[in-house]
Amino acid sequence: MIEIKGLAKAFAISKSNKLSDTEKQDVRYSDKAFHSVRDVSFTCGDGEVLGLLGPNGAGKTTTLRMLSTALKQDSGSVFINGIDVLQKPIQARKEIGFLSADTGLYGKLTAFENIAYFARLHGMKEATIKTRIEQLFTLLDMHNFANRRVDAMSTGMKQKTAIARAVVHSPKVVILDEPTTGLDIMTVQTVLDFIKSLKDQGTPVIFSTHHLDEVGALCDKVVVIDKGISSFFGSLAEFKQLTPDGDLRQAFLAVIAQHVQQGAA
């Protein structure tokens, strides 16, 4: 279970950075700080898949970074299975499997070595590591490049390795930042099947994406973030109901348009 309430995060602006005219009109910019995330709230229960949507620069990655404990929020709260990530970050990290927008792999190591390294950092024992990696190689069809260095891999191979690395410690919650971007159709299908398998196991999954067909196929819940605020949060059915014909693209545009009309709060 993931519970996020009133999350906010600002970054200091360097004095040497002069704001452009567009930035001056953006409500998130003040003289001294850029308020990347201003008020984000949502929940994702066990066995649920939540789609995190929003335009580029809306604050999705910052939100996911706070969820993953890479960044500390300025205000608001994040609970992972009841663990406050601010109070007990190390304990929370044990529960989380996180895939960043970059694959986050070491080029000079093989797929096996990359995954094993992170397994060790999660405190797994050598015998368990080998068994678990074998399991993941089968699940993600990775046997043919298990001992290939990441530098020599295709984008799809890298993404599969990154996913295996993210879930090697059997996390209780999984967070994926744009997991299907830049992948071919076959690899996208493997990734989507994998997310489905996590859902079937009862693992809550949050994934940010720009592909609304994936949201329609997988998600139970949708949250739309715009200018650092969660402007919509509800079930997929509720999201579809925002437009008469249930078109997800139109629903997304309607949420953004409504948010603009409200002056982006």
Binding site: F11, A12, R65, S68, T69, A70, L71, K72, I90, Q91, R93, K94, I96, F98, S100, A101, D102, T103, G104, L105, Y106, G107, K108, L109, E113, Y117, F118, R120, L121, H122, G123, R149, R165
Partner: protein, 400 residues
Amino acid sequence: MWQVYFKELTELLRDKKTLIFVILLPILIFPVLFGIVGLVMATTTSKAMEEQHRYVIINEQQAPEFAEALFYHKNFKKVETTLSSEQELVAAIRNEEFDVALVIPADFASRKAAVQQTEWQLIYNRSSQLDFMYNYFDEMLATYTEELQRNTLSQLGVDPANLTAIIKPVELTRVNTAEQRENIGESMGAILAYALVLLCLSGAMYPAVDMGAGEKERGTLETLLICPVSRTAIVLGKFLTVLTTALMTALITVVSLGVWGAIISAFADLSKVSEALASITVIDLMLMFSLLLPTAAIFAALLLAISIYARTFKEAQNYMSPLTILVIVPLMIAMAPGMELDVTTALIPLTNIALAIKELLKGTADYGLLALIFASTTALAAALIAFCVHWFQQEKVLFR
């Protein structure tokens, strides 16, 4: 921490750049470089010593004995000229008509007879680094003037038996109390320390850039930060890797120089150098290493802190360039003539290490001062490691 350390080390050893900078460069490039420099210098010196200079001598009839000695000198070849003024001679040398002109005053013989001093003029191009010309003339003139002194004094009725004592009443004989090792340590110590410290820096530089800014650029840092490992453990693992490569570079260089030195010694008669180096004990070497350890730790912590702050590989390299100059300055101070190790210099970072290594090579180290240097350098290294750890906890540094 050890997981991070071993993983970083594995990656570095698989990196061609690391292999070049940490292993190949010290093993091959430095000895080759020193060899080339030595060869060029030896060739240039030998060429300069064998070179025959074309000369003109003005008023040679005034000093026929000297003119004769010059004529038969193997490094000089006489050229006839009608020129006589200084301007004309300078212009002719610039036009490469000849290399040197010796101007003897027209009244030299009469002034010599009247026991009066005269001034001879030597005109030549002094821009060459290897100025053997003056030495040749100085030696010949010393012999010639001594002969003149003897003749003059004999003419004045001085007893020939006393001539040497009158010409040079005091002869200074030097008795060197320094051992061969002390001499070699004095001339080589500062240079070796300079090379070792700079090698520690260069050995630490690339891995530090790769492990901080490189991780940021590749997007692996974020993945690492969300592992259930404290950031202190992560940064210490990285620090130890940088420290290892820094020390490895210095160690490989010393071993490589030792091997190359032995090879060269086998072909040249360097028995005195070999004997002197053999007198350096294992304890001396261990003390040198124990001084280099906190020095390398200072570099590792400093470079890692810079690298963590930088957003990209290139930005980190830009920040690190001025650091090299900051390191060279105190090392140059240690090489300055008259710089000795005392309580004050023992507290100047890097200068103290260079002076201590020199003293250890000479075999004249004061162990109290060595302890002071070790303590002050270790304290500085510990402060910088603490800063690096603190730096690694800062969001504004990690996510700039």
